[in-house]
Amino acid sequence: MSQNPVLDTPAQSAPNAHEPTLRQRLNRSEFAKTRRSLLLIAPLLVFVVVCFLFPIGSILSQSINNPELPEALPQTSKALQAWSGDALPDEHLYALLAKELIAARDQGQIASAAKRLSYEDASYRRLILAVPRQAPADGVDVKNILIAKQPLWGDITTWRTLQRAAKPLTSLYLLSAFDRKVDAKTGAIVSQPADQALYVNVLLRTLWMATVVTLLCVGIGYPLAYWLAKQPSGRANLLMILVLLPFWTSLIVRTASWIVLLQSGGLINRALMGIGLIDHPLTLVFNRLGVYISMTHILLPFIVLPLYAVMKGISPSYMRAAISLGAHPFLAFWRVYVPQTFAGITAGALLVFMMAIGYYVTPALLGGPDDQMVSYFVAFFTNSTMNWGMAAALGSQLLIIVMLLYIVYVRVTRTPAEAAAR
């Protein structure tokens, strides 16, 4: 600071000590500028918070939220948290549970509590729903009567499960999303039995399918964009429309037309049989192949566009220079041209990959049950079984992966820039 004679000379600040120094004034005007720009982006900020962060946050919170039991059975839930868990609860807790279950039935809240408990074990649903019928009307000796009618009430595991399910937050959904669960007897986290485990498999499959589609898109999109970039601009525009036309068509329409093309009696099979290449129709659809074909087609424009934009900006003189210096044309292309398109490849591939892992419609319509990706199960839990906790947990899983990918992307793309700055 003191090295700067213009800003901080005593001669300047001495005459009127109350006047702010130039630096202070500079700071103040800088601050005003920042404030003005903050005000300008405020609407955007509010929009992002209200329409994006808030809904996403509230959905994500569903994956650990556990309101069913505390809402339907408020006092029992409280009492359960105080229960030690070493021995069966006393008569008081049994009576409280029965009383509150009867009240919950009368208010129509018992179904949601029973549903929540059935996630822990399917037999608990019946157990809970039967209590209001089986509990003695006078509320005396509830414990023995309930145990006599349903032996499960005499099992301490039932009560431990109830205690866990009555907490305001739960790890149930997130654990299930990774095929894990809390063992009812020991309280340890264990793997789901093999015939129930599903989501780790689905997640790996989703990542694998997205990778394949991305590689196919890069493989097809790169030569296409290269060829487009080489065309005279009039023809390039025309060809670009051909790339964009399917892009503007509705996703459902494109997916449905792939069914028409690929099915056994479809255009492609009939053509192949017509020219005598095959005897029996190939199964091109309702399997993995059909999903790959259509997803690659649908996502292709997302890689062609950024690649084309980058390639348009590369001066042909670099390649000419390399060749005139004696490089083989292929070597010149590989060593001089391709590195300049890396930014386009990364941007396009990442875009395709991120869109691919969230795909729902195409695999649902063109794939079999073993080609479904994570979003299919999000939709399944949201729409069919209304297990929104599970849907939110799977959604969180996807979101975390996308965010990790984004971090990787930033790392990868920043390094050369930093190197250049140095």
Partner: protein, 341 residues
């Protein structure tokens, strides 16, 4: 200008107030076309109110979201029985006042319930294209016989119906299906039977798919809703139905809790319950009417094509809605993880 606009707005509001509009949501396709002819148009023609008809695939999420946020845009919805019972338990539907809807004794068992009024009886049946298959399959056991009938088969992608079909294919008697399925060993048996056919199954989700696949030759036989088969037959396809081991259930009307047109919705359900209207419906799509009196209004030839025809009913199994209400979630989860492997 402003005045004109104000007049226009008031006129629109007044017009809307005059003819109250009821939003009725059903399972689209040919089913909705038949409902349009039998219920919606006559309802409007009778001056009772206009109908805004929509469609959905039976997903309850939208209804639950509407009820929870108190933004109820749907008034009357069509539901399969397990969903009706579950939604009724969870308080998603209004309790029906049967005094306003018709005499309970006029309806077949199961179509009168706390929250729902049966619309029609449908059946999931085995169907095939008789032009393409030389020998006719006669049972679900034949459905499993890939040597005699090579090619893919279509089944609905859900545990519901699929597990029952697998058990019947494995030789379980119609009347014992749910008894066996209620035991863990029975469930294992059903999945084991499904394992045998798994590579040859093409799964469908919407009712139109299995018939499209039969037409395109993608599958040699399929499970399908009998009404859709009937529509395809009417279009000239030589599809045959095997009634043996068909699974029948009801579709129901229910009023979404908090509907703003509850009185009109009740009027609509009462109207749709009348035998004359149910008769028109059954003439347009071969589903069985729930009003017993509608049967006598129908031509005998038509009656034979319905799941409610005595001959057909005797060979079929009624879907146990309570079983699916109780075990649905668990079995669907297991089915999903089985199918995804």
């Amino acid at each position: 200008m402003v005045k004109k606009l104000a007049v226009l707005i008031f006129a629109t509001i007044a017009l809307q107030a005059q003819a109250e509009t009821l939003t009725v949501i059903s399972f689209g396709g040919t089913n909705k076309d038949a409902q349009d002819k039998a219920f919606y148009k006559p309802f409007t023609a009778a001056g009772l109110g206009t109908i805004d008809a929509g469609e959905y695939n039976g997903e309850m999420a939208r209804i639950r979201a509407m009820v929870e946020t108190k933004q109820v845009g749907w008034d009357v919805v069509e539901l399969e029985t397990p969903e009706l019972l579950r939604g009724c338990e969870e308080g998603l539907f209004e309790t029906l006042d049967w005094n306003k809807l018709g005499k309970k004794s006029d309806f077949i068992p199961g179509s009168v319930s706390e929250c729902g009024a049966g619309i029609f009886v449908w059946s999931t049946v085995l169907t095939y294209d008789a032009d393409k298959l030389k020998t006719a399959p006669t049972s679900w056991a034949d459905f499993w016989d890939v040597k005699k009938f090579p090619g893919k088969r279509a089944l609905r992608k859900s545990a519901k119906y699929t597990l029952e079909i697998a058990l019947m294919a494995d030789g379980v008697k119609r009347e014992d299906v749910y008894k066996v399925l209620a035991t863990p060993a029975g469930v294992d048996r059903a999945f084991k039977k499904l394992d045998e056919l798994k590579p040859n199954i093409q799964w469908w989700e919407s009712g139109a798919q299995p018939l499209q696949w039969l037409v395109s030759g993608d599958v040699v036989m399929a499970s399908a809703y009998n009404g859709r088969v009937g529509t395809a037959q009417a279009e000239g396809h030589n599809f045959k139905i095997v009634w043996d081991g068909g699974l029948y259930d009801l579709d129901n009307w229910a009023i979404v809790k908090g509907s703003q047109h509850k009185a009109l919705a009740e009027k609509f359900i009462a109207f749709a319950n009348q035998p004359e209207n149910q008769k028109v419906y059954a003439e347009n799509i071969p589903y069985g009417p729930t009003n017993i009196k509608a049967g006598s209004l129908l031509e005998p030839a038509r009656l034979k094509q319905l799941p409610t025809a005595p001959d057909n009913l005797a060979k079929s199994v009624q879907v146990d809605a309570n079983f699916w209400l109780e075990h649905g979630e668990e079995l669907e989860q297991r089915f999903n993880s089985w199918a995804a492997k």
